[in-house]
């Protein structure tokens, strides 16, 4: 038999006999003959553990899979995490359990989700957070549906053009099928166009507005007064914020948000080719019962001990079916644990230090790139955090290829001439200088020749 199958021949015979069957095939007698699968699967033959390791070693050889020195962001950031985080989340009691339906033997999971909710609430300034969402994009889409469901009379949800286009596409996809229009509020000079917003609000019927902070281009936007304007229309204000930057930046609650969402990958989660990360979602107490997903609450057990339990479940699919606030069931619980342990270690000061270093690195890189004479600010004078856009005068693709060849991922191309770069605390001054040097030395004509 196989290593994951414990059945010996003797076991098989005894169990078949007890179950009143002659062969395991008897259990499938009710499957119509026409649908029976009668050939072998066209899949590789079993690999021994040794061969499996070898196979993946080859796939991860530098010629096949090569992590680059990362100056790219666009929703996925290369941050540091203490070694112990990965180690702790691999503990099998966390890893091999499921949703904590049985509170009596799941206090480990329930405790950390409660801690996670507390930390997200604290970072965003909101009253309540759920146990996590799939990612930042789907969390934003859920927020849009929450706005739509909350509105009495509305004909659209507004979304700023400065929201990450990948997130926008997900929100638009969900909205299209759910059955409400998303109206895009245009940007001017890299930030939300306030006049356009005023106009859109004046037209009425607005269920909510979605903005991003820092926005897609890395700009820290000033959202003063927007919350009031949206509330005046009885809409809700949704802020998609990078939680790592919230160590420093004004919180969604301080901007007057009703719902805060975002991607938690920036809280030390490895990039892993884009997933798993974790979406977070938090809101005001007023909207608590409209929040999708799992929520953990504090209570007492019958021995008088403080205990934690899944609560407010009347919102959820397994109780309410089609009337649930969302269809979400599994979320990204283990990644929420990752974030919780990360934030426990980094703490109040660590997260600030990460933010300071990332800010300092990005601004230093921007200065050095401008100093090469090959770049201009895409959005001059706009404040940014650890990500920014510059325009390149030459052939941007050729430049990026050159950087890749030298082992650098020099950012993400966001326009014909526009390059968006991100810096985290992981990027040393030497790496920043070397990237600038590669760019400085790059001569297009030679590359072409």
């Amino acid at each position: 038999m196989y290593k994951y199958f414990p059945h010996t021949e003797e076991d098989l015979q005894e169990m078949l006999k007890a179950a009143g069957a002659k062969s395991v095939h008897d259990f499938f007698d009710d499957v119509p003959e026409a649908t029976r699968f009668k050939r072998e699967y066209e899949l590789p033959e079993a690999l021994s553990e040794t061969d499996l390791r070898l196979f993946f070693e080859q796939l991860t050889a530098p010629a096949n899979t090569q992590p680059l020195i990362c100056f790219a962001g666009a929703g996925c950031y290369d941050h540091y995490a203490p070694s112990i985080v990965q180690n702790l989340i691999q503990r099998s009691e966390y890893l091999t359990s499921y949703t904590p339906y049985q509170a009596e033997i799941s206090q480990g999971t329930l405790h950390y989700i409660f801690e996670y909710q507390s930390m997200i609430a604290e970072l965003t300034g909101m009253d309540i957070a759920n146990a996590s969402m799939y990612d930042g994009a789907t969390a934003t889409a859920e927020a849009a549906m929450m706005a739509w469901g909350n509105a009495k009379k509305a004909n659209c949800v507004l979304m700023s053009e400065t929201v990450d286009p990948k997130v926008r596409r997900v929100v638009e996809t969900y909205a299209h099928f759910h059955g409400f229009p998303i109206k895009l509020v245009p940007a001017e000079g890299g930030v939300l166009d306030r006049k356009a917003l005023d106009k859109a609000l004046a037209e009425g019927g607005v269920a909510g507005l979605i903005v991003q902070q820092p926005n897609y281009f890395g700009i820290v936007e000033d959202y003063t007064g927007i919350s009031d304007a949206v509330h005046e229309q009885k809409g809700i204000f949704i802020v998609n914020a990078n939680p790592s930057d919230l160590a420093i930046l004004k919180t969604p609650a301080e901007w007057g948000a009703d719902v805060a969402v975002g991607e938690g990958q920036s809280l030390g989660i490895p990039m892993t080719f884009g997933g798993p990360g974790v979406g977070y979602m938090a809101c005001t107490e007023k909207l608590m019962r409209k929040l999708p997903g799992r929520i953990v609450g504090q209570t007492l057990d019958n021995r008088g001990q403080r205990a934690f339990v899944l609560t407010l479940q009347a919102r959820e699919q397994h109780i309410r079916r089609q009337k649930a606030t969302s269809n979400i069931c599994s979320n990204q619980s283990l990644m929420a644990l990752y974030v919780t342990i990360y934030l426990s270690l980094m703490g109040k000061e660590g997260l600030r230090e990460v933010a300071e270093m990332s800010y300092a690195g990005a601004h230093s890189l921007r200065d050095k790139l401008i100093a090469t004479g090959k770049f201009k600010d895409t959005f001059p004078g706009q404040p940014f955090f650890n990500e920014f856009c510059v325009d390149y005068e030459g052939d941007l693709d050729a430049l990026l290829d050159e950087c890749t060849a030298s082992g650098y991922l020099a950012g993400v191309k966001v326009g014909e001439k526009t390059l968006m770069l991100a810096v985290t605390e992981q990027r040393s001054t030497e790496e920043i200088d070397e990237l600038v040097e590669i760019i400085q030395q790059f001569k297009e004509e030679e590359a072409k020749a």
């Binding site: 702790l88 033997i105 409660f114 990612d135 997933g275 109040k348």
Partner: protein, 506 residues
């Protein structure tokens, strides 16, 4: 599992001035965040814990001891397929080269990762009997939603307005919820006395709703663990009415080696990699919910797509050159339903699933369904005296009882479930499916040995006995767990969902 409550919260272990990290100090400090206008900065620092490393290590280690996982013991949670999560898969998913990949880096620098991604898509298509898969969805319900979007995009492409979806009353709660999120109206199909789809009711509903039917969602074997024997008639009826058939892959494990959804006439399905393909449930994710479609529906799948391509170059020195490899296609075609996530799904989870498929290989995968089914039928036969078996006949990978056979002492399914915790087992799924009042749904998976199952059966018999001799003790179970039964009403009535709120209320 430690049966004493550990109980602390990390905030309670915090002391000002402690830290659990170390960062380089030699960086260029020309710029600081003080440059940002005050209106853009938060007023007060976030009250995150301040702890040294060992405190954090012990806290999360001690907390874990109050948790029960598959590695601790038998976890017969029906519908969740709590199979063994092979450790080698974790090792592979943890390889540094994968962990350090940015999703937007050039394809030429990550061919190995894309090869895994692509080959997993192809392997799932073979196992499902369908044409193509997207791996973008992050969980089963996310897959359901994506699959329904495919179906709606298909009807839209034909300018065919269809707003209803047929769902059996035995379906998982996510089915109707996903339909609602996707803007569809649920039409419930009744089950017959055998627990399978009532074809008369289906016929009636099809006649009634005909051109409005976008799809029918089905789980097969259904949530009672019973194979829908008339599945071919059902798919034919729905297809005739112009609807598509959606297969909820939650119970796919039962069928590995025996039959494929595509061969039963399903058009769209999702697979839970965290069920059938052994990736850990992680306390509730991250999962992965790939969606497959039959031929003709590929163009509706969400973007981005990972593809195998052949590119022809004409290099000045080498002449025409052919490059065969893998790419991430971000192209937003007209027909695609759109996008359902930040990037292209939970790659870390896919690595584990692919490692599982390669480990088992074609010669072992084919036994998965048989052994899972054998285990379930064995349990069914041995428990059907003490526990009420509402539907006789074969089951597949799971079996549903309707509580104790003898209910005279008032011991409920909830009590039985709680008493199981005392004996070191996770409880089965309870009060689902909704067809019975006292549902107790047991799914053993193929990984459990006869000894484990026999010991569980003995305990189930013992609990049935206790229910007669000492019902109060069973009704007040568990007695031997870190905490006793919790006050759910208190939790919901005055919700305390953060540490700060907890401090206020204490």
């Amino acid at each position: 599992m430690n049966r004493t409550l550990y109980g602390n919260l990390i905030f309670e272990l915090s002391k000002k001035g402690r830290k659990g990290y170390s960062l380089p100090q030699d960086y260029d400090r020309t710029h600081t965040t003080a440059e940002l206008p005050a209106t853009l900065r938060r007023k007060e620092a976030a009250r995150l814990p301040e702890c040294d490393e060992l405190t954090v290590v012990r806290h999360y280690t001690n907390l874990s001891h109050n948790n029960f996982g598959v590695n601790d013991g038998f976890y017969p949670l029906g519908s969740c397929t709590m199979k063994y999560n092979p450790v080698i898969n974790e090792e592979i998913a943890g390889l540094k080269a994968f962990a350090g990949l940015h999703p937007l880096q050039p394809a030429v620098t990550c061919q190995g990762a894309l090869e895994v991604y692509y080959n997993l898509q192809v392997s799932l298509a073979e196992l499902a009997g369908l044409s193509e898969f997207t791996l973008n969805p992050c969980a089963g319900a996310h897959g359901e939603l994506t699959g329904l979007m495919v179906i709606r995009a298909y009807h839209e492409s034909r300018n065919d307005v269809r707003t209803k979806v047929l769902i059996p009353d035995s379906a998982h709660g996510t089915n109707p919820a996903s339909a609602a999120v996707c803007g569809l109206e649920v039409v419930e199909v009744k089950s017959n006395a055998n627990g399978t789809v009532d074809l008369e009711d289906l016929k009636r509903l099809i006649e009634l709703e005909g051109p409005n039917i976008a799809a029918m969602m089905m789980t097969n074997p259904n949530t009672l663990g019973i194979f829908e024997p008339r599945v071919l008639e059902i798919t034919e009826m729905v297809h005739k009415a112009g609807g598509l058939m959606y297969y909820d892959g939650a119970n796919l494990n039962a069928l590995l080696g025996e039959c494929r959804p595509g061969d039963m006439g399903f058009d769209v399905m999702h697979i839970n990699l965290h069920k059938t393909f052994s990736t850990p449930h992680g306390g509730g994710g991250p999962g992965s919910g790939p969606v497959g479609v039959r031929k003709g529906l590929e163009k509706f799948l969400p973007t981005p797509r990972v593809k195998k391509v052949v590119v022809n170059y004409d290099l000045p020195e080498d002449g025409p050159t052919e490059w065969e490899g893998f790419i991430v296609d971000w192209g937003q075609s007209e027909s695609s339903l759109g996008s359902v996530g930040n990037f292209f799904g939970n790659f870390g989870v896919m690595l584990k699933a692919y490692a599982y498929i390669l480990s088992l290989g074609s010669e072992n995968i084919k036994h998965v369904g048989q052994l899972a089914t054998l285990n379930a039928n064995y349990i069914k036969e041995r428990l059907k005296g003490d526990y009420l078996l509402p539907i006789k006949g074969l089951c597949k990978h799971e079996v549903v009882f309707d509580g104790l056979a003898d209910k005279s002492t008032g011991v409920t399914t909830m009590d039985v479930a709680k008493r199981l915790l005392d004996y070191g087992y996770h409880a089965p799924t309870i009060y689902f499916p909704l067809l019975f009042h006292e549902s107790l749904m047991i799914e053993p998976t193929e990984n459990e040995s006869k000894e484990t199952i026999d010991a569980f059966i003995d305990v189930m018999h013992k609990i049935a006995e206790e229910a007669k001799t000492d019902p109060e003790m069973v009704k007040t179970a568990p007695h031997n767990t870190p905490i006793g039964r919790v006050d759910d009403v208190l939790a919901a009535k005055q919700p305390v969902t953060t540490y700060w709120k907890s401090k206020q209320s204490s």
